[in-house]
Symmetry: C2
Subunit: 129 residues, 2 copies
């Protein structure tokens, strides 16, 4: 995949949106484009179509496990954008833990023993199995 609309659709889906119209209104994307993206996301196993929960004859688009696992990716992106893309005085949103009503922790990469890892501290290797 890799395009911008797809990312925004997944973000909305993670926020609980399920209906064609919800995505369309929230994103302001052309309907043909939205339909194409939703179709691609279903084909990639990120969303699945289920009959609408209300009586209507339509479908709802809900995340699969694979789709739900994109949560940390989107959170990481959100935190990065929050830190670097917005001026201090702009209105911005935060991700809060529902139970406490407090902002969540910043995602950080840790080693097996719990040490915090910076960019140079990790390296890509061929997996040993």
């Amino acid at each position: 995949m890799g395009d911008w609309w797809t990312l925004l659709i997944v973000r909305d889906a993670l926020a609980g949106k399920r209906r064609f119209g919800e995505f369309q209104k929230s994103l302001g994307v052309a309907k043909n484009v939205l339909a194409a993206r939703l179709r691609a996301l279903v084909a990639d196993g990120i969303l699945e179509m289920v009959p609408a929960s209300d009586g209507s004859a339509y479908q709802e688009y809900v995340l699969t496990d694979k789709g739900r696992d994109l949560f940390p990716v989107l959170v990481a992106l959100r935190q990065w954008a929050h830190a670097h893309l917005f001026k201090p005085e702009e209105i911005h949103t935060t991700l809060v833990d529902r139970a406490l009503g407090r902002p969540v922790r910043t995602l950080e990469l840790r080693a097996e023993d719990g040490r915090l890892l910076k960019v140079g501290d990790a390296e890509v290797r061929i997996a040993t199995r």
Copy 2:
């Protein structure tokens, strides 16, 4: 930004690549496209150009702080791809902590008090300041 090559360039940059030719060889992208993407990344403050460390008359492209902070985003994406995009028997790579030589931990979102948060446990709100 938001396009695919850009992401791959940042990934390479996080892996320590700095030279035009390194990116070009690693990615197999057309040189004009690479030049355009590098220019855009510099304009966005993700890379900066510095004189080459060897004697040559060329530039190197190194990450800014803003660029380095994309590390968790790319790691999250890598871990997701590892879990969902590759078949078990395919050859895949892992991110290892240099000091231990052991794979890093999986990124996970935690609340202020340390509780592990799943998708429905967090919610976007207007920031209180």
